[in-house]
């Protein structure tokens, strides 16, 4: 277990900035998720911590020790790769045993630890198989077992669930969470899936174009996104974002008229989450437009309506039914929160 500190680290390939100069401290025992679209620098950041990528500038400290010039093998980390990175010519047992072998653990202890770890991830029956004979989920477990067979200072996980099917992903997610709870090892986890980030993280670092745009707890990031990018990225379906302006304490756009606590200004983007909107029958409701689409998700219906060029989505009751292209009204639920952003800078305007 250890704290990881990235101090003014930067990664450049020629003139291309992959990770912009910034600092980040990952607390001891924390589960930090680096979240962002592909090419945002999250994997590069993780690979720099692992020592697989050289850093252009700055310092990386693991448990207070500067590791810039240390090769990966001396950083005492374990990593799970997106494509698992298994050793195809070794059996499952040998795969799990390999890190112990490299560290000179004696054979009896090694066998015992392999058995214990395999049991933990339910692989004990497969120890004699080769990776090519396993399913995706099983391979994922082997990669995981290989990482947890010894207790490293940090776990690094690079989109470990992205090659699994949706159902297995949910199961493995819960297992990862449980494992972290059990082992308490500092974990850095890279993903582009906001749901994974929300469910797993103690803190999420949302990255964009090589820069961390917001670093906070999942709850806080969901409730108070720092800018338009985060607002649009977190949440499913994503937050409704409507362009308009504020005059005399009211935000106005085509079909929308709601009270906000902001001085007069143009170029404002109002954000409201679909789950904070209710369907109304009253034509004086603050959001009015034409019904565009209805999508039943099982426990609710996603109601999309249009007013001019903008569309707004609301999560309504599962039994809601209405005719497409008919007038439709929405009203914010009690306690619903409006998020206000500057359209040009994307920055949050209200606190």
């Amino acid at each position: 277990m250890a704290e990881v500190r990235l101090v003014d680290i930067e990664k450049r390939y020629g003139s291309f900035v992959a990770v912009a100069k910034q600092s980040l401290t990952i607390e001891n025992g924390e589960f930090l998720v680096l979240l962002g679209p592909s090419g945002c620098g999250k994997t590069t950041t993780m690979r720099m911590i692992a020592g697989l990528e050289e850093i252009t500038a700055g310092d990386i400290l693991i448990a207070g020790e500067r590791v810039n010039d240390k090769p990966p093998k001396d950083r005492d980390i374990a990593m799970v790769f997106q494509n698992y990175g298994l050793y195809p010519h070794m059996t499952v047992g040998q795969n799990i045993e390999y890190p112990l072998k490299l560290r000179g653990v004696n054979k009896a202890t090694r066998q015992q630890q392999v058995q214990d770890t395999a049991a933990k991830v339910e692989l004990d029956a497969l120890l004699g198989r080769r990776p090519s004979e396993l399913s995706g989920g099983q391979r994922q477990r082997v990669a995981l077992a290989r990482a947890i067979v010894r207790t490293p200072k940090i776990f690094l996980m690079d989109e470990p669930l992205s090659n699994l099917d949706a159902k297995l992903r949910v199961t493995m997610r819960a297992e990862l969470k449980h494992l972290h709870h059990e082992l308490g090892v500092t974990t850095v986890y890279v993903t582009h899936d906001q749901m994974e980030a929300m469910t797993l993280a103690s803190r999420v670092a949302v990255m964009r174009e090589g820069r961390i745009v917001q670093l906070d707890t999942p709850r806080k990031i969901y409730a108070e996104p720092a800018d338009l990018f985060v607002a649009g990225f977190i949440g499913s379906p994503s937050m409704n974002l409507v362009n308009g302006s504020v005059t005399a304490g009211r935000f106005r756009a085509e079909g929308i008229d709601v009270p906000v606590d902001l001085p007069d200004r143009d170029s404002v983007v109002l954000g409201i989450r679909p789950e904070e909107l209710d369907i109304a029958t009253d034509s004086s409701a603050p959001v009015a437009g034409k019904l565009y689409a209805l999508e039943l998700t099982g426990d609710s219906t996603l109601v999309t309506m249009r007013m001019g060029k903008t569309s707004v989505c609301a999560r309504g009751p599962a039994d809601f039914e209405a005719a497409i292209n008919e007038p439709c009204y929405l009203t914010p639920k009690a306690g619903a929160r409006f998020h206000l952003f500057d359209r040009n800078s994307g920055q949050r305007l209200d606190g």
Partner: protein, 271 residues
């Protein structure tokens, strides 16, 4: 009807190609077991004999020492070229060094030069070093010929191995050399084996340099064949017997390794 014609047509074509390819080889095998008087006869009705093999291994032909020379030159060349080329290929494949592409081109460019152009400089060089007519000279020359080729070949195989497993091993605690030994070599084994065989065959069959650089002590099998062209004419039966001696080892090797080939090729990638 049309189908039947195509069927027969295909078979006929296959037989024709086989005949063209196999005829000289089978003729060589047959002649090797013929007596001198039957050598020019086209009849298949002859009394087979092993005399030719006995003759080529005894004075004045002494094929035994040529076999020895060929084996030593080929084995030592493979033994040096393949490990060196594997490491070089790994470096070219994995390290992003400045000038890497140029260096690789430079190595390949040695293959563009026709052997005839450099055989004379080699001759002069080895003469001044006192290495003419030695196996060492042939090994050095063959190394120069095959190493670039083998580097290029093995690099292709290593390029195809995903880096994930290597990085995983480095994080698991392996040094770069350990990674090569434990992960890369086993995964690239089929490719390295293939390259080794190519390397062996190239060296085994090398003729021009062996002809110019050897006289008596270091003569290899292909050069030895020429000695059967004598003032008494071409001794076809002896030449064929020696030809069989050159061909058979390669045949056996190919057969032995064939199994490994296909298995190794398919066992590789895991995603």
């Amino acid at each position: 009807m049309k189908k039947l014609l195509t069927w027969w047509g295909e078979r006929a074509l296959l037989v024709l190609i086989s005949v063209v390819v196999l005829f000289p080889i089978s003729w060589m095998f047959l002649t090797a077991f013929k007596q001198p008087r039957d050598a020019y006869s086209t009849s298949l009705n002859f009394t087979p004999t092993l005399d030719n093999f006995v003759t080529v291994f005894s004075d004045p032909w002494n094929l035994g020492s040529m076999v020895m020379n060929s084996v030593i030159v080929a084995v030592v060349t493979v033994a040096i070229a393949v490990p060196c080329a594997s490491l070089a290929a790994y470096s070219f494949s994995r390290f992003r060094v400045r000038g890497r592409k140029f260096l690789f081109f430079l190595i390949l460019s040695t293959q563009f030069i026709p052997a005839v152009v450099i055989v004379l400089p080699f001759f002069l060089m080895f003469r001044s070093l006192g290495l003419l007519d030695t196996r060492l000279a042939l090994i050095i020359v063959n190394l120069a010929i095959v190493t670039p080729f083998v580097i290029w070949m093995i690099k292709g195989f290593i390029d195809a191995i995903p880096t994930d497993s290597e990085e995983a091993a480095m994080i698991d605690g392996a040094s770069r050399l350990r990674v090569i030994k434990d992960i890369v070599l086993p995964m690239a084994a089929p490719g390295i084996l293939t390259s080794s065989i190519f390397c062996f065959i190239l060296t085994w069959n090398e003729f021009l340099f062996a002809l110019i650089l050897s006289r008596r002590d270091a003569v290899t099998l292909p050069v030895g064949l020429v000695s059967f062209r004598t003032e008494r004419g071409d001794l076809w039966e002896l030449m064929s017997a020696a030809g069989v001696m050159i061909t058979v080892p390669i045949f056996i090797m190919a057969l032995l390794i064939q199994k490994h080939f296909t298995r190794g090729m398919t066992a590789g990638a895991v995603k």
